[in-house]
């Protein structure tokens, strides 16, 4: 048995704190070290940053954009581009103007319109899984559900969908190992939208997000510039396709490894929304987002200097023992769940309600259509959108 790490060991370990790639395999140990005595600390990764781990401190920082700004980018490291993404990398006062254009499109009421299509798509893909003995639920279900639903909403043509997964993988998953590959994919995505916007100007439509952007007028009555349009499209592409696929995959990952949880949700599908909140809290696609400190400030007794990069570690806040009873356990009966999966403050994930709706419907239909399943390869990790092989009871019979 290993002894509890000493405080200086913890600081040393946390000086290498990372929240991407293989660092996620056992990031929970880092979070426990933070909560045990280092809730604000320093990592030397990615040029160096101060991390904030307590849920209340993270919300306070998110609610203080005048101290913790998003510029030059909330992505650390960069997401295949050095241009700011609208609106997530934009600070007040322009932020609200940019965000307002998208707001009405992501309300729960608008989502009711999308719901039947989400359900039909989930059923169709789940039926293909149910017919197999061993199936990759990430490749055949989690990713395509989201690609189909989100691309239809945005107006990304179906013929282009097969290109998307590789771009997403290069930008989001390869960036920490191979930034050049991420930038190359980022340039390909920008060129793709450059072309798509031109095609849409030549043949206008009225029923999707790209149309809304093309018709939008900014505060002074001008249309969006070409660069602004590309930035919005880029943001929607990287934010909308990957995160929800990860969340759906993570839920199925847990159910495949936890027979009693799977049995509970099969018997009580009305508990799926609460289960989805727990998956978002415990296995969130976004474990942290960056800020830049604009003026000297103090958080939990630690000084943070103007100019320092700061990472709000949502994943740590989501396991904060001061905010959650039994914080490291997935519990479907949790009555109080102010988790940070979607962040907070003025940059609260705009797609949170769409993401939630997709996650809940995907889990509902997957459990309804696919018979009892188990993990075919227990070593497959909880994070990312890599393969998730399931053995399906009675599949391919």
């Amino acid at each position: 048995m290993q002894a509890e790490p000493r405080a200086d060991d913890a600081a040393d370990r946390l000086d290498r704190f990372d929240f991407h790639g293989h660092a996620l395999d056992d990031i929970w140990s880092d979070y426990r070290a933070m909560h045990a005595g280092c809730p604000v600390g320093h990592s030397s990764k990615y040029g160096g940053f101060t991390f904030i781990a307590k849920l209340e401190d993270i919300f306070a920082a998110e609610q203080s954009p005048e101290v913790f700004a998003v510029g030059p980018s909330m992505l650390l490291p960069a997401f295949g581009t050095d241009e700011p993404m609208i609106p997530i990398d934009i600070d007040p006062p322009m932020h609200a103007i940019y965000r307002k254009i998208l707001l009405p499109l992501f309300t729960p009421r608008m989502l009711d319109v999308l719901t039947p299509g989400i359900r039909d798509t989930a059923v169709e893909l789940a039926e293909a899984i149910a017919a197999q003995e061993v199936a990759d639920a990430s490749k055949l279900f989690a990713r395509p559900v989201v690609t189909i639903v989100f691309s239809r909403l945005c107006g990304f043509p179906e013929a282009d969908w097969p290109k998307f997964d590789q771009w997403v993988d290069d930008i989001i998953y390869e960036r920490t190992e191979d930034p050049e590959r991420a930038y190359a994919a980022g340039n390909a995505v920008k060129a793709y939208f450059d072309d798509l916007l031109q095609r849409r100007r030549d043949a206008p439509r009225e029923d999707d997000l790209i149309s809304v952007l093309l018709e939008a007028r900014i505060a002074d009555g001008r249309p969006l510039t070409h660069d602004e349009l590309i930035s919005y499209c880029y943001m929607l592409f990287v934010a909308g396709l990957d995160t929800t696929a990860w969340a759906i995959r993570a839920g199925i990952w847990h159910l495949a490894r936890t027979p009693e949880a799977q049995a509970e949700l099969r018997a009580h599908p009305e508990r799926i929304p609460a289960a989805a909140e727990e998956y978002l809290r415990m296995l969130a696609p976004v474990q942290g987002m960056a800020r830049t400190c604009l003026r000297d400030t103090v958080v939990r007794g630690q000084e943070i200097k103007a100019g320092e990069r700061v990472v709000l570690v949502f994943g740590a806040g989501n396991r904060d023992p001061d905010a959650f009873d039994d914080p490291d356990t997935i519990r479907f009966d949790r009555a109080k769940n102010r988790h940070l999966a979607f962040g907070g403050g003025i940059h609260r994930c705009l797609g949170s309600n769409l993401g939630r709706r997709e996650l809940v419907i995907a889990l509902e239909e997957f459990l309804r259509v696919v018979p009892t399943f188990t993990a075919e390869n227990p070593a497959e990790s909880w994070h990312g959108v890599g393969p998730l092989h399931l053995r399906v009871q009675g599949g391919a019979a």
Binding site: P104, T107, P108, N337, R338, H339, L340, F342, R348, N353
Partner: protein
Amino acid sequence: MRVVIDPGLCQGHARCASLAPDLFDLDENGYGVVRLGREVVPEGDLDALLAIDNCPEQAIRLELDG
């Protein structure tokens, strides 16, 4: 008691309207509002407490009447 949403804090997470739809609604931009005529609740009202406990921004509170 009176249920109040602070519009300066609400960021449209929509947890209140999702968990306690009889008490809360959303405006056209997705921000939470207390349903008209439902502002006054008894002390310990479960819907109000559920929404307060789950509002990420802590934008909902109970105030004494009058």
